[in-house]
């Protein structure tokens, strides 16, 4: 008995030495959440796009910071007269991961499916749909201008990716389950609740040769991505530090400081990836009272509010609805709208006719947003407003939000979008139920022939909305990733790490 124990111990020790070495070009990434579905055309959650967008699935083109269109699956994109039609010529050398060739049929099916599932885009094109004109070309005609349509196609959260027609036909319960795309990686396996494994697509039409050429050097190119779903922040951090993971997402601000001191770990990600919005219920008695709304805004210290959720770092106080990644839609001078004035708040509350009723704050416990609610309650107490926090899990909150009799304000995070009209809380029938006038003004922004024109229109709308306060935007957040510092060539695109050119330094 006594002799067996040390042997067992040694055995177990040996087990731990069995770590995959970097020579195999493997990157293990720990994510904080798992997408509810891998169908990123329908579901806009960040975790799905992180894994599949640009890796497995691709869009026809991308638009970079300077507004230039970068072709991906298309060769050229042209507007017709009046910009009421769009004509796209596709690449002819693209193959799907299942070996079939991408042709105009696949593109038409994919894009029309995208439009079917994405109401805002479909409304923008007045219900039009793509059609093929043969010879690897597709077109769409609309009653109105399509000037801003490329932004929908290139950057919307519901991604306009190209899927093979078989995978669309094999939909199950309305969702695509055969994940077949055109990208530099293919989905090898998906184990729900555990991980998704992507491996290099060796017949990628893109710059694979250049990438593979790096193997002539000493470095090892990355050929396998394993995305793990690890909801516990501590486990992710310890995993990175102990070498179980090579990259982790959603680094907490207090871990950032520790990682900065660690030379084996590099930090990525300084772009704003979204904003927090406190959306008033314009159909409830308190939420529809504009004086009350103003009072609420004046009673909050936006810096403290953001800090309660994000900690020391990882956020910027800014009331612009759009993030810094869309500089054309940002105005300066927003700080007067984020001022805190308790005296004025108190008098506005009296003026508004508030009679002591409970101000109901709806939130979920996702990503510490419930702490914002706790802060708000205490801040509002200082100006004499009694509030009640309704905290639910995420799915429960989404459901509760639909019921206008249940809440007066809810707290949520909204990811970056290319155009202001894509912000859900600015849509008329979205919970919050923005005023018809305000909604129309926001829609009017889309009625522009260029981004510059839209930007001018938006600046007026933004100022008006800052006055009427349908929502309060206290600040924006950044998503930080931490990597093994020997992993080179990782690019951040749209706030998400891209591994296609990454390799391990020797």
């Amino acid at each position: 008995m006594k002799r067996i124990l040390p042997f067992l111990f040694a055995l177990i020790l040996l087990a731990s030495c069995d770590r995959v070495s970097h020579d195999e070009g493997l990157v293990r990434i720990a994510l904080s959440s798992e997408p509810p579905t891998l169908d990123i055309m329908i579901n806009p959650s960040l975790s799905g796009r992180l894994m599949l967008l640009r890796n497995v699935y691709e869009r026809l083109f991308e638009i970079d910071e300077s507004g230039e269109m970068d072709m991906v699956l298309s060769e050229s994109v042209e507007f017709g007269e009046d910009k009421r039609s769009l004509s796209i010529k596709l690449r002819e050398d693209v193959y799907f991961h299942d070996g079939s060739k991408m042709d105009e049929e696949d593109v038409v099916l994919s894009l029309n499916r995208w439009l079917d599932k994405y109401k805002t885009a479909s409304d923008y094109v007045h219900g039009a749909r793509f059609y093929s004109i043969g010879d690897y070309s597709v077109e769409i005609d609309s009653e109105g201008s399509l000037a801003l349509f490329p932004y929908f196609m290139a950057s919307s959260s519901q991604s306009a990716v190209i899927m093979s027609r078989e995978s669309i036909e094999n939909e199950n319960l309305g969702l695509v389950v055969d994940i077949v795309g055109t990208g530099p990686f293919k989905l090898e396996s998906y184990s729900k609740g555990e991980k998704a494994v992507l491996t290099r697509n060796m017949s990628y039409y893109g710059t694979n040769d250049e990438i593979l050429g790096i193997s002539d050097s000493q470095d090892d190119i990355v050929s396998r991505l394993e995305y793990y779903f690890v909801p516990e922040a501590l486990t992710r951090r310890i995993g990175l530090e102990s070498g179980a993971y090579d990259a982790i997402g959603d680094v907490m601000s207090y871990d950032v400081a520790a990682f900065e001191d660690n030379e084996n770990i590099a930090l990525l990600g300084e772009e704003e990836t979204g904003s927090i919005a406190l959306v008033f219920n314009k159909r409830s008695s308190l939420g529809s009272n504009s004086l009350f709304r103003k009072a609420v805004s004046l009673s909050l210290d936006f810096d403290a509010l953001m800090k309660s959720c994000y900690g020391e770092s990882g956020y910027v106080v800014d009331s612009n609805y759009m993030d810094s990644t869309e500089p054309l839609f940002r105005l300066s001078g927003d700080s007067i709208y984020s001022e805190r004035d308790l005296e004025r708040a108190k008098s506005l509350i009296k003026e508004s006719g508030y009679n002591g009723e409970s101000f109901r704050i709806l939130t979920s416990n996702l990503s510490n947003m419930d702490k914002i609610a706790v802060y708000m309650k205490s801040a509002l107490q200082e100006v004499g407003v009694e509030s009640e926090i309704i905290m639910l899990d995420w799915a429960g909150m989404l459901e509760a939000r639909k019921d206008e009799s249940l809440w007066d304000i809810y707290i949520s995070a909204f990811t970056s979008v290319p155009l202001p009209s894509m912000k859900s809380y600015l849509m008329e029938d979205f919970p919050g139920w923005i005023d018809r006038n305000d909604a129309e003004r926001v829609e009017e922004v889309l009625n522009s022939d260029s981004l510059e024109e839209a930007s001018l229109k938006w600046s007026e709308v933004q100022r008006a909305l800052w006055e009427s306060l349908p929502v309060i935007v206290p600040g924006h957040y950044t998503t930080v990733y931490a990597l093994d510092s020997s992993l080179d060539g990782v690019e951040m695109i749209d706030g998400m790490p891209d591994f296609r050119s990454s390799h391990y330094k020797k």
């Binding site: 922040a233 501590l234 951090r237 907490m252 207090y254 871990d255 520790a258 210290d301 810096d303 403290a304 800090k307 309660s308 900690g311 020391e312 416990n365 419930d370 702490k371 609610a373 706790v374 802060y375 309650k377 205490s378 926090i389 309704i390 905290m391 639910l392 899990d393 429960g396 459901e399 509760a400 249940l406």
Partner: protein, 281 residues
């Protein structure tokens, strides 16, 4: 001796929690995660709240909700067991139904209940009651069967003494004596269960901190400020210790009774009464 020690510890915890809970918690982000100060000897949490006051309130809340839930379960459980014992044949069926209720994981019950927004804090009480009532019923039923077959009870019921008198003056006190140990154990179990639910985000609401939610929050800062986790852990340890001392000295709670010796024990009781009926030993 044990009993006294347990009561003293629990009493001290209750007293201190009660006393400190009246102070201001005070949310102030500027002193987030700061260390100990004169007014706040245990430091501040991430929202800048006075940790001592927070813990005091959390302790009271956890104890209060656990006490309510376990008491309700106790009451319902014993009632149910009394009802079951009146059934001559159907108790197996009834116990099977109870088993089904017991097999519902508490997380699923809690999520289901969260759909009813008006419930608020009742949600956690109901979830815990759903978990503990079947357990109490089972123990109570077993003990009840055993007690009713004790010789002097049988003697009493055959004599002129009225049934209700036998029941209330003799059976019930013995029942209480037998299962009060279980009460203590389940009380500490329920505090743990509540903390597990809080970890998964299904517990009490944020504004009413409980030990569980405080710990769930503290674990995020474990590498940065471990004291945030250590203090509530110590409190839980003390509570469990005191409850254990009290319950173990009050009655021998044998958890083999937690489950399926039911058939066996009932049959042993029957067996011994059969033997008596046949005039043996």
């Amino acid at each position: 001796m044990r009993l006294r020690g347990g009561i003293i510890i629990l009493g001290l915890i209750l007293a201190f929690s009660f006393a400190f809970s009246f102070l201001e918690v005070g949310i102030d982000l500027s002193r987030s995660l700061s260390g100990a100060s004169l007014t706040s000897p245990l430091g501040f949490d991430d929202l800048g709240r006075n940790y001592l006051v927070l813990l005091a309130r959390g302790t009271l809340t956890s104890l209060f909700f656990s006490f309510i839930s376990v008491s309700i379960s106790f009451f319902l459980g014993t009632l149910l067991s009394l009802f079951l014992s009146l059934l001559k044949r159907g108790y197996e069926l009834a116990l099977s139904i109870l088993d089904s209720v017991r097999m519902l994981p508490v997380t699923v019950v809690a999520i289901f209940l969260s759909s009813f927004f008006l419930l608020g804090e009742l949600r956690i009480v109901i979830s815990l009651v759903v978990v503990f009532t079947p357990m109490f019923t089972r123990i109570s039923f077993l003990k009840l069967s055993e007690i009713r077959n004790r010789e002097y009870i049988l003697f009493l019921s055959k004599s002129r003494v009225s049934r209700s008198r036998v029941f209330f003056c003799h059976v019930v006190p013995h029942l209480w004596l037998s299962i009060r140990g279980a009460y203590g154990v389940y009380l500490s179990t329920s505090i743990l269960l509540e903390s597990t639910l809080s970890y998964l985000g299904l517990g009490l609401r944020e504004e009413r901190p409980s030990l569980g939610s405080i710990m769930a929050n503290a674990k995020d800062y474990m590498l940065y400020r471990p004291s945030l986790l250590i203090y509530p852990t110590l409190i839980m340890l003390l509570i469990s210790l005191s409850l254990y001392l009290i319950s173990s000295s009050l009655g021998e709670f044998d958890s083999s009774l937690k489950r399926p010796l039911k058939g066996k024990l009932v049959n042993i009781a029957k067996f011994s009464s059969n033997r008596k009926a046949r005039g043996e030993s």
